[in-house]
């Protein structure tokens, strides 16, 4: 079917079928953050173990569509082992990639300082999710894990 290949790239379906870092971590020492996509009912739990400012362990549970699940899986591989600051940079870079139609309602202009911050960071496999931007309702699927991670990092380091 035409068009769908932009959305369902191989690597996305791979992460969907074989999610990395799936499961739960003991809390504490880990911290759990929960996110909901009110659109489609996707729910996600992000377990984070932050030690000495580093994400030393991380896992994902919950359920959702291929986009939200693969995005979560790729996210874990992108930030696991990174410092909190580095992880935040990846989050920002990912959100910039997803922001053509905006995930939230903060007006219509983009903050270009954000974009330059983002552009320093290589997103690697996550680039495969760029096609999601052509399917605006799916952006919330792709960003669900990231918003939940963001929230989890704030809580875990509060």
């Amino acid at each position: 079917m035409a068009g769908l290949e932009d959305l369902y790239r191989e690597i996305i379906l791979d992460h969907y079928r074989n999610p990395r870092n799936r499961g739960e971590l003991e809390t504490p020492p880990a911290h759990m953050a929960e996110g909901f996509n009110p659109l489609c009912g996707d729910e996600i739990q992000v377990f984070l173990h932050v030690d000495a400012d580093k994400i030393c362990d991380m896992s994902i549970s919950g359920q959702g569509c291929s986009i939200s699940q693969s995005s979560a899986s790729m996210m874990t591989t992108a930030v696991l082992g990174k410092t909190v600051d580095e992880a935040r940079q990846v989050i920002r870079a990912f959100k910039v990639m997803m922001s053509i139609h905006g995930d939230d309602l903060d007006g219509s202009e983009h903050d270009h300082s954000d974009e330059s911050v983002g552009s320093d960071v290589s997103l690697g496999d996550l680039e495969a999710l760029r096609g999601v931007v052509k399917f605006p309702v799916r952006i919330k699927c792709a960003t669900l894990a990231w918003n939940t991670l963001d929230q989890g990092l704030s809580e875990a380091t509060a």
Binding site: M1, Y8, L13, N18, C40, D42, S66, I67, Q69, R138
Partner: protein, 422 residues
């Protein structure tokens, strides 16, 4: 603009009906649109769209206050629509028909006005396991404010209400609030029986008829219910309009909900005197065009005949259940009752292990509109053990070819996801 001819016995001429709905003639992704999401909102016939236009182009004026000609026309068009809706639902008086912005506001009106005036710590209300959030959250808000207990009537395995312990569950209950039709399972509930049981137990009953009124003959007098809520946009009407119907003596005894213009007889610095029914519950400028548009929607449905609508949907649902199950076998689960006597044309589908959101995305490429998600019924989804379903729902303008196209697209979706290298 002609109304469809009443033809209670003849089958529905879906081609003619389809032609009345401008949106159904559009293309999506190079395919003729196949709209199977009427449980979320129905499409609108030309009659309703034209009625809105005529209102704005010819008689637009604020109502109930102006002595000039167009204000008079706007007022009488509004009250005519109210009377038409009254007759459509079998209500004894038009003063019992209260306009809200949607079914959700109608239920909240009961929860705020009747609920806050009557329910306190120790009181209980009964709802069912298949309710829409609109008939859950207002009660949870009340419960957390007042310490009111919420009980949940369970379901049978095939998604009907389990009435085994109904009387026991109603014991001590002040209100039984339930849907006449489920927006997830299609289940039709035995409204009269439930109302009788409620009254037997000394409880009032509130029927959420949002999914029933567009599809079935409805008569609040025959149902013997106390309150009924429904929403305009699912029954060929415009957005921004809903209805609360209630028995006059109950509404009369309730305090007003929203305060402002229209709902008062008099205001002084010391206080206000509420207006008579129905205006007592209609604060501010009403959704005038929307009320008149809903009146036109009712005319449209009446011209078809609600018996005919129901017969059409039974036949089509039967066809869908049969052909989809035959073709897709174990790949497909359709939740809810299997007998069309117990259900309407809402088909909540799980297909293989394809997430409903992915499934609906693939169907969209063929112009097929189905809804993926929790359908605002998360407690029910949890009970079904699914995070989401893909829901196809039919209405007067759907026919067997729409079901066939859905069936083909399901097969293609299966192909698409299994052929992608893993």
């Amino acid at each position: 603009m002609t109304l469809p001819v009443d033809s209670t016995d003849a089958p529905l001429d879906t081609a003619a009906i389809k032609a009345d709905f401008p949106l159904l003639n559009r293309q999506v992704n190079d395919h003729q649109i196949v709209y199977l999401d009427s449980a979320a909102t129905s499409q609108k016939p030309r009659l309703v769209i034209d009625t809105l236009d005529r209102y704005y182009e010819e008689i637009n004026a604020n109502v109930h206050r102006g002595a000039y000609h167009i204000a008079e026309l706007a007022t009488s068009a509004t009250e005519d629509a109210r009377a038409r809706i009254q007759r459509f639902i079998g209500a004894p008086s038009a003063s019992e028909v209260i306009f809200t912005k949607n079914a959700t506001e109608a239920i909240n009106l009961i929860a705020y006005s009747w609920g806050r005036a009557n329910l306190n710590e120790g009181d209980a209300i009964l709802i069912t396991a298949l309710e829409h959030h609109a008939n859950i959250v207002p009660w949870q808000q009340l419960a957390s404010e007042r310490g009111v207990e919420i009980r949940w009537l369970p379901l049978t395995d095939d998604g009907r209400l389990d009435l085994t312990d109904l009387d026991q569950m109603l014991d001590g209950v002040s209100l039984f609030a339930f849907s006449a039709a489920s927006n997830v399972l299609g289940t039709l509930t035995p409204v009269r029986q439930l109302a009788d049981a409620a009254h037997e137990a000394g409880a009032l009953c509130l029927v959420d008829a949002s999914q029933a009124l567009p599809h079935l003959p409805t008569d609040v007098t025959a149902w013997d219910c106390d309150f009924m809520a429904f929403t305009g946009h699912k029954m060929c009407g415009p957005t921004g309009i809903g209805v609360l119907w209630g028995r006059a003596e109950l509404l009369d005894a309730m305090p007003p909900f929203l305060g402002g213009g229209e709902m008062i007889l008099n205001v002084t610095r010391e206080g206000f005197i509420p207006n008579e029914l129905p205006w007592k519950f209609e604060a501010g400028t009403p959704p005038i065009a929307e009320i008149i548009g809903l009146g036109a929607a009712v005319s449209y449905l009446e011209a078809i005949g609600m018996e005919t609508v129901r017969a059409h949907e039974i036949a089509l649902t039967d066809y869908a259940l049969r052909t989809l199950n035959e073709r897709h076998g174990d790949d497909l689960v359709i939740h809810g009752p299997t007998d069309t006597d117990d259900r309407g044309g809402v088909l909540s589908i799980c297909y293989r292990d394809i997430h409903p959101h992915d499934l609906s995305q693939v169907l969209d490429q063929r112009g097929i509109c189905v809804r993926a998600g929790h359908h605002c019924a998360k407690p029910l989804m949890k009970l079904l053990g699914v995070g989401a379903t893909a829901r196809a729902s039919v209405y007067i303008y759907n026919d067997e070819s729409d079901v066939d196209l859905l069936s083909d697209a399901l097969a293609e979706a299966g192909e698409f996801f299994s052929h992608q290298p893993a």
